[in-house]
Symmetry: C4
Subunit: 233 residues, 4 copies
């Protein structure tokens, strides 16, 4: 009873609203990370002691920067992936909800790492952080499962290779985070280092893709180029 064009327009509008809502949640999640940067309490209040106390908090700054960058890159990815979507169904809706929950919750392990990284409890903090990142990675895998071409949510003209490539990437990502979390149980710094390297790698990748495509868009043409590029995968 609803013709295809109107249906597609309504679907896009829902997608736009879901994206706007997700953008808001992501923006807030990034910002509240700063609330975990706590003013140090000094026994003797001198400039020298305050400088020492501020420097001693370096794990907090590291964890803040790591989580902020992580969520920022996820925002870019979220946009790129939603730009392929024509309409939303229940599975995608709840995959997105799970992803939002995992992103929002990231402030907690971030604070844990900030508080405990350079203490004897550092490994427990780093493993907890790894598990939280694994939760976001799991959400991404469900998200991409919902976008399988045969489920019919994609915009017309999106080549199946784009979905296949991204699905493979998020699956490999999950495995690497699994390894990094295991490593963190032995050496907190090494485990977190692998996770940081992953974001540096993905940021570099996103940066190059952005420049290679000449402009940041999601038209089918450029996606096809990306999907068949030998440097991908």
């Amino acid at each position: 009873m609803v013709d295809a064009a109107a249906g597609s327009a309504a679907g896009r509008s829902e997608t736009a609203r879901l994206e706007a809502f997700s953008d808001a949640v992501i923006a807030i999640a990034m910002t509240i990370l700063a609330l975990e940067l706590r003013v140090p309490i000094l026994e003797a209040v001198t400039s020298k002691n305050l400088v020492s106390a501020i420097l001693d908090q370096w794990p907090s700054y590291f964890a803040f920067a790591l989580s902020f960058t992580t969520i920022l890159i996820m925002w870019i990815n979220h946009h790129a992936r939603l730009s392929l979507v024509d309409r939303i169904d229940g599975l995608l809706m709840f995959a997105n909800g799970f992803l939002m929950m995992a992103i929002v919750a990231l402030s907690y392990p971030t604070a844990l790492v900030g508080e405990y990284l350079n203490t004897p409890a550092g490994r427990a903090a780093a493993v907890t952080y790894g598990l939280a990142v694994l939760a976001t990675s799991a959400a991404w895998n469900i998200f991409m499962l919902a976008l399988r071409p045969e489920r019919g949510l994609l915009r017309p003209g999106v080549p199946p290779e784009v979905i296949a490539t991204t699905r493979r990437r998020v699956a490999i990502g999950f495995l690497i985070y699994l390894v990094a979390t295991g490593v963190a149980a032995v050496n907190a710094y090494l485990g977190l280092g692998i996770m940081t390297a992953m974001w540096v790698f993905w940021a570099t990748f996103a940066y190059r893709a952005l420049n290679r495509r000449e402009r940041w868009s999601a038209d089918a043409t450029s996606l096809e180029v990306e999907a068949t590029s030998p440097s991908d995968g």
Copy 2:
């Protein structure tokens, strides 16, 4: 002096702005829940102690997930219900304001449950949580009261059965939350369990509705189908 079409267009624009504002409040309310996940303070700082302390905080994670999901589902419902609205009057405006206040305030009983569920004060925490959920449910009932067809706020073509069905549902919801709050006064876990089951049930319902309708929209045709579906009510 204003012709009907222009009036309707202006009304839609106000509705869109109210929805955008409500979306922002809901997104922030969901996100600040994470701020109640507090980093544990250890007496002896070891990885083993930190793991224990993190595991002991399970009521906080449960309460976070419960409230996050609750508010997420309310967001979906809020959108579905506002999509029926053509213009806003005072009663709807204040019903929406009351609903926003109740949603925002939910972070407080969430923190209470996180702190006290597995203590001798668990029942008081669970009852307080139940009362807060009852407040959101009351707000929904006023909201739907404002949408009665005879009040003239609905978009043309919205079948009265849609409103009647939803009004019945939110009224029944209020009664079940009343029972769950009463049960929580006797057994905190059972009371919260009923509330959790409600959200699982409603999420499942929303999920099925989303798929049954084939796309997430609010056109009168699909609403009529929903309203007359034998599985409803």
Copy 3:
């Protein structure tokens, strides 16, 4: 070099962006009020003690509801007033910035009242709250000063009486808050009671205006009706 129509369109777009930004700030300011609702710390953890502690926090709930409603009504007013604006200049920009700062800062005196109202320091908390409300009222007065018709920021067709009426109202509001703050120095409850009565009065007024105008819009016709209505002022 820019024709009038294009200029006006660009102006409206800037106004829309300022409104969207202000909406975001207001939505967040409302939501973070909930963070001042603190979980009580009990000496002996029993349900009875928790119930007592929760009930003892009633000033926090009262202050939360008062500030939430205050900001919500300001949001409605902000929208109604910006809907008269065609373009923004420096004075309006900074009046709006000052207003945002005052609204955002309201969470601090709200927490003060929640903490100290029913203590011997109640009057100091209530006076501080009154001063903060006076700051928002001062911002509104500057805001309306920027909208004087001779300054040329208004949309074509906005009758000067609308501005004059609103200017008179916000000026009277400032005087009443001044009195209420003075009263709070003698009796905290009475001072806050006057402020609460003001919001109830304004909410009732907004509610009636919303219904009288038949729909929530800002077209010049309905504004003229409002400005000349005998119940105004």
Copy 4:
């Protein structure tokens, strides 16, 4: 394969989304500053003691107002600069991300200044604040580097002088903040005073520019006027 007009339209849409996201982050960053205004804890709870304690917190209010105004002015500048942009590439994307991180993190040194300015640790707090402001200034310099005309991100018709003028200004700004941070190491009040004077100066400048251009827009004509105005630079 994509014609220029369509490419430009898609580019503008991405720019609009980046701006909306940045607006959200900036709005939240401004608002959470209020969370650092902490309710004082009194030994003897009397109105007199509460008044003293509130007055003693003046560094917190000063720091709040300074950072709020700083971020508000950055918001205005961010908008003015993004209005010159036609499309986004990797460098601009990450300059913007770095800027957002620096803005969000500003709440931490703001709280430091509020806590320690009028203590023997005041200089360390003021220097830390200066370093944080330097980080935002560095981000702006990278941002403007990304907008160099030869990089091809600008909208057609943007005169190169506009970019050159702004680049010179943000470079000079960096140097002044460097000096102010150095001064803060000797005298905290003087260092912060220079930073405050900078914002007052820039706010005055923005205010005048807003009025001189007659309306707050970014059309090439008015920009050319600004760029060649003798009062600039």
